[in-house]
Amino acid sequence: MVKGKRKPLEEIRAALAPYNKVLVTGCGGCVSVCLAGGQKEVNLLMDDLKMLFKQANTPKHLKGYTVERQCNRQFLAELDELAPQAECLVSMACGAGVQYLAERFPNMPVFPAINTIAIGVDREIGIYEEKCRACGECVLAYTGGICPVTRCAKCLFNGPCGGTNKGMCEISNDIPCAWYDIYNRLKDQKRLGDILKIQTPMEWRNQTQRTVIQEGYEKRYAGR
């Protein structure tokens, strides 16, 4: 799922300085799971902001509302009455949610409160690890289920570079070498043949905005 991390409070405060009525919107989807932008985090952010504005003698009207998901039009519709009562919106959703919210209320300033970091997994509670860069041309089949695009610092497709250091990446002793892990996993599965072949240059599919139309829906959306 999408993983994010809240922006520094000062950055959010500075963005809101010119406005008196602010609606902070949370998202019950991915960013709620990674403890960055759900209902609980909306409340925490509002408490922090209220305190800051009070200290600065510039109290503001802050309201909070969390929708099921900000990446869906039906859920955003819940904000249709509330949003126009504010002077600006804060979104605690991922970058996609922020944009969909801004698209729904095109006359209102919208400020992101989190930085969207990655598509990743829950390593532990509160620890999330990037796993996918959404390159659009998945190669996991031949790399033993380990992504070289995400995990190899040099995005190599043909095996470890010369910098592999006791199984770690040359950029840090704390980062495991993706290709060292790919090699060992395929070796254990007796599939090393998969990486002996030369992998030809990647056809990058993520260089322009992409729209997905699933099979079965092509006719319905033909011409869009």
Partner: protein, 317 residues
Amino acid sequence: MAMSTENTHEFKSGSNLEKILKAGHFAFTGELGPPRGANVEHVIEKAMPLKGMVDMVNITDNQTAMVRMSSWAAALIAIREGLEPNYQMVCRDRNRLAMQADILGAYAHGIRNILCLSGDHQQFGDHPNAKGVFDIDSIQLVAMIKKMRDEGKFLGGAEIDGPPRLFIGAAANPFGDPFEWRVYRLAKKVQAGADFIQTQCCFNMTKMREWIKQANDMGLTEKTYILVGVTPMKSLGMAKYMATKVPGMDVPDEIIKRIQGVDKKKQADEGITIACEQIAEFKEMKGIAGVHLMAIEWEHKVPEIAERAGMLPRPKV
């Protein structure tokens, strides 16, 4: 082997290195790092001691991810100074369009050798938050240049008006993990089209002997020319730094002990002695076609090292 140096079509590129290797001579190549500025004098100063001492000089490409004069530009200065350059190209800083454009431009200006590298990660350098390009990797770069040269086609498939006839090089690090994979990575580079290989600085002779044996057994040394990287240690400090701080470097304790065992003033001399002993062994080792001397920021010592290693005079081909 009878050769006509006039007919370049006997050769893939007609570069001096290619002719030396094809004639069966033991090649000896050097390295020159471009300056951190547009200081032409600096390049000339570094080029002078290399003249006549080596068959070709690698011109590094933003090495250690620090901005420097571009490799092709410094290579042109090297040509003017009477050296044959080896244009190093890393995958970190250019996408496939820029790479192919630079390859054509370099060839048009008389560059005949190229070395394909992944490149040190940008995090090491002076612009750590730069966007690393890594559009294609070093093996794909080798294959792309081979396609440009032999098929006269761009990676995208279109015809090239005047294909670049380059002698294609790649790097190999026999000391990286996992060791048993290294010869297969070499095999991939050879399959992709590497005419010659220059290895990482070699200090661990045991591993090098084993790796070359594997390469011989797989028939790889018949298909490519392997030049082993040799770096003389200038001091104990350098030896310790190389042992602990440089990724992928394998410096056995015996090397450090030997440098440590001599008077501080004689450490540089001991470093050169070790390098010469290595070169002597490589000259006799089956499957090794030459030595690539990386005298890091020590270009002025190259004549002395070349002399002591019995590499002079360099053959004229």
